[in-house]
């Protein structure tokens, strides 16, 4: 495992450097100025220039980049222009909300995805199977913000059962926190679950054609055991890759869901820092997201290797 990580290290470092450059350059290419967020739109040009100077935005781009990287290597993410707080503090204050949402969405995604996937791979009745297929396709075809919207309409306005905006930390109040979490997590998880379900069903169906399934049947293995011990375990690979890819998306991509359900997560922080051109916050978020995506990719490789004894971790 250690050698696996060591072997992956150079490419991870490369990705990190490249994404740090992109994270630095891309927001700065966009017109706008972090100083405007502080000085306000009514400020005069002189006032704006003074604020810029105070924020240290007048140095050259090279200087700013290397200054940032240097501090980064010393564990200092810098200070938000707009909120005047250390970036690390800002991010950690939003982390709980996002992690709770992503984690619950992940769990829902796995549960729903596996249930649908196994069902559609086992059902023999053509009509139910077709119905399930349509349901699955609809889930797949409905983007999270739309699901979220429909859920708000249904459970927030038509039948007000669950709170549809705001949030509550799970640590503060687990029951209420869960109530706040369930709808956004569900909206976020549903389309992804459909993807997982579809991949899983395809994988199961292709494993079904393998000789060892015939052997298991010839042994007299009953269907339930056949699914658990033989079909499922050999079909997990693609599903895990998909879950890994999606998990990154859940973490960083909950932006719209957070907006719709009025949650203060990292997605909202990212959006507000784009709006304010709060470069340092944005840079940290982008870099973090890319690294987490890389990490998740490595983790799914490890998981797959752990599940399949044939695969050994190689660089």
């Amino acid at each position: 495992m250690l050698t696996f990580f060591l072997k992956k290290l150079p490419s991870v470092v490369m990705v990190a450097i490249a994404s740090s450059v992109i994270a630095f350059v891309l927001p700065r290419l966009a017109p706008g100025d972090p100083a405007v967020a502080l000085a306000g739109s009514d400020a005069s040009p002189e006032q704006l220039a003074a604020v810029r100077d105070q924020l240290g935005l007048n140095g050259s781009l090279y200087e700013q980049y290397f200054h940032w990287i240097w501090n980064l290597l010393h564990g200092d993410l810098g200070r938000s222009f707009a909120m005047r707080r250390p970036v690390a503090t800002l991010i950690s204050s939003r982390l709980e909300s996002t992690i709770e949402l992503a984690a619950l969405a992940l769990v829902l995604m796995i549960i729903i995805g596996f249930t649908l996937g196994i069902l559609s791979a086992t059902l023999r009745n053509q009509t139910t199977k077709a119905a399930l297929d349509v349901v699955n396709t609809i889930c797949l075809a409905t983007p999270p913000f739309l699901t979220g919207l429909l859920l708000i309409l249904l459970l927030g306005i038509a039948f007000p059962i669950l709170p549809v905006s705001g949030e509550m930390g799970l640590l503060r109040d687990p029951v209420k926190g869960l109530q706040y979490l369930i709808l956004p997590a569900f909206a976020l998880a549903l389309p992804q679950a459909a993807v997982v379900a579809r991949l899983l069903a395809t994988a199961i169906n292709s494993v079904r054609g393998e000789d060892f399934i015939d052997l298991a049947k010839a042994k007299g293995v009953p269907p339930g055991r056949l699914m658990r011990r033989h079909l499922l375990r050999n079909s997990l690979g693609p599903a895990i890759v998909a879950i890994g890819l999606r998990a990154g998306e859940l973490l960083g991509g909950a932006i719209v869901i957070e907006a719709i359900f009025a949650r203060n997560g990292l997605g909202q922080l990212a959006v507000s820092s784009v709006q304010n051109r709060d470069y340092l916050v944005l840079q940290a978020l982008i870099l973090g997201a890319v690294l987490i995506a890389v990490l998740i990719q490595l983790l799914s490789e490890i998981t797959i290797a752990a599940l399949d004894p044939r695969i050994r971790l190689e660089g």
């Binding site: 706008g32 704006l48 003074a50 709170p163 905006s165 907006a259 719709i260 909202q268 922080l269």
Partner: protein, 516 residues
């Protein structure tokens, strides 16, 4: 419900203005000072207020939507204008005297004022505050007034004398915004670690993007005040979420809601509207760029736009369609002038044809704010009717703001100004649409003369005359067309009493208490 992601910025704009609400008070159910106090004030309790924009402790000397709900509870000013009588009343200043030539002012301060650090406030702090207002990096809207100071002389711990370069009719606009700051801790306000004022509440905690906590200042000079123990200001950027917070009783007050959400509360006796502050939406054109270098075309715009429909469809009829920038009913606000340009597309079309501008392409810069986009949709529809070819250039707010500051917005643009409530003299210099270096590229000797007349006017009659003369000129030149002024509305549950508001919609909780 509004998904306010980029548009959240909108609330980072200064809002203000009480004059406006006073005028509207008759027409709408709301009153300016909230509810007559019934029952006796009770000590203790905590309330939650929801606001749509985040606090900006760095900008406590500037009007900011995110600061308005709380800043006047932590800070106090030299004077405070009574929003009902417009009478300037002393707060930290005990008394003042303006010299006969209008070029200096003597101020006497209260001697029982302490900062939250426990230090006594002195005249040095006032001097520091006023000097800081003038600094460009403070970026205060009214900072230009402080720049007209010749000197500030501290004569004792409680007295000081200010000398002006010229007579300043709008000096109280400055005083009203100059929150007295603690010289020693001012630098630490930036990240919210130490926000020290003299008000009835202490600034306890700021979670950026999430909430601000205020706690009772026990050593306040009036020992009975404040009644409440603490106030939480929750930042809920989404308007609908604010509504649910209010409905569920989590918050007792919500600011910055969208019109669509307010509609739900109109006939509910448990809630009250506080119309305060407000926003002007002007359509500006650059007079140096074709086709707007022709006055006829600019005037045609005035006739072309259906302001009433904008008010009805974009603002739910809550605003006032007006051709003027000045606060409705303020000195010099001419009712006829306000209706100078009636909706008359035929006339507009004729004017455009006369100017030979038919078919001209008109790129209109619009900030990516829902209200502005909606206004644009009506405007472009109106302009098409008169034979122009408008096209949208939607800019995200940060980009738009930067170009507005630089005065570089192209041939036409729909702006948003949240400065309702300042005096006309102040507006002339603080509104980007009107100030020197405006994005319309408009400046003339006559304009300068008329502006100076307004600034120099030192009696109500003189002001009235000067403002009307300026208005006539501006309506004729039509370089920037005010379309509609809308009030910022705050909604308040009846469980809390004694909440007051300043002239520019900052909330005052000093005498607020929870109903039994």
């Amino acid at each position: 419900m509004t998904i306010r992601i980029l548009p959240a910025i909108r609330h980072a704009r200064p809002i203000g203005g009480m004059i406006f609400s006073v005028v509207l008070a008759a027409g709408l159910c709301a009153t300016a000072s909230v509810r007559a106090d019934d029952g006796k004030p009770v000590r203790g309790g905590t309330i939650t207020v929801s606001q749509t924009a985040d606090a900006q402790p760095r900008n406590i000397l500037t009007l900011r939507a995110g600061n308005s709900p709380w800043v006047k509870n932590v800070f106090e000013t030299l004077t405070q204008t009574d929003p009902e009588t417009f009478e300037v009343k002393p707060l930290l200043a005990k008394s003042w005297k303006v010299a006969a030539d209008g070029l200096s002012m003597d101020i006497v301060l209260r001697d029982d004022v302490t900062f939250h650090t426990g230090r006594k406030m002195t005249a040095e702090d006032i001097k520091f505050t006023l000097e800081t207002m003038a600094l460009p990096e403070t970026a205060a809207q009214v900072g230009f007034i402080a720049k007209e100071f010749q000197s500030i002389d501290v004569t004792s711990a409680t007295t000081l004398t200010i000398k002006f370069k010229k007579p300043l009719a709008n000096i109280f606009d400055l005083f009203e915004e100059a929150n007295v700051i603690d010289k020693e801790t001012y630098a630490k306000r930036e990240d919210g670690s130490q926000v020290i004022g003299t008000g009835p509440f202490k600034f306890a905690k700021w979670s950026p993007g999430a909430s601000i906590m205020l706690e009772r200042y026990d050593s306040y000079r009036d020992k009975s005040l404040p009644y409440l123990d603490s106030i939480e200001f929750a930042v809920i950027t989404d308007s609908t979420a604010s509504v649910s917070a209010l409905r569920s009783g989590r918050s007792v007050m919500a600011t910055g809601l969208s019109q669509n959400d307010l509609v739900e509360f109109t006939n509910n006796p448990q809630y009250q509207f506080v119309n305060s502050g407000g926003t002007i939406f002007p359509l500006g054109v650059n007079v140096t760029k074709a086709p707007f270098d022709k006055k006829e075309v600019r005037q045609a715009l005035g006739y072309a736009i259906d302001r009433q429909r904008i008010n009805d469809q974009v603002f739910g009829g809550i605003g006032v369609p007006t051709d003027l920038f000045w606060g409705v009913g303020s000195p010099g606000y001419g009712k006829d002038q306000a209706l100078h340009y009636g909706y008359d597309p035929k006339k507009a079309k004729a004017l455009v044809e006369k100017a030979g501008a038919t078919g001209a392409k008109v790129p209109i810069v619009v900030p990516s704010i829902p209200a502005n986009r909606s206004i644009f949709e009506i405007v472009q529809n109106n302009l098409k009717e008169i034979g122009l070819a408008p096209e949208a250039v939607v800019l995200d707010v940060a980009d738009f703001d930067k170009r507005q500051v630089a005065g570089d917005l192209g041939p036409a643009f729909i702006l948003i100004h949240g400065q309702v409530g300042f005096s006309t003299a102040t507006l002339l210099s603080s509104l980007p649409s009107l100030r020197q270096g405006n994005p319309s590229g408009f400046w003339s000797d006559q304009y300068a003369t008329l502006r100076n007349a307004v600034t120099a006017a030192n009696s109500p009659e003189a002001t009235d005359k000067a403002v009307k003369a300026l208005s006539d000129y501006m309506l004729d030149e039509a370089f920037s067309l005010s379309l509609v002024q809308t009030p910022g509305q705050t909604i308040l549950s009846d469980t809390v009493k004694g909440v007051k508001a300043t002239l520019r919609s900052q909330m005052l909780f000093g005498q607020a208490y929870l109903a039994e």
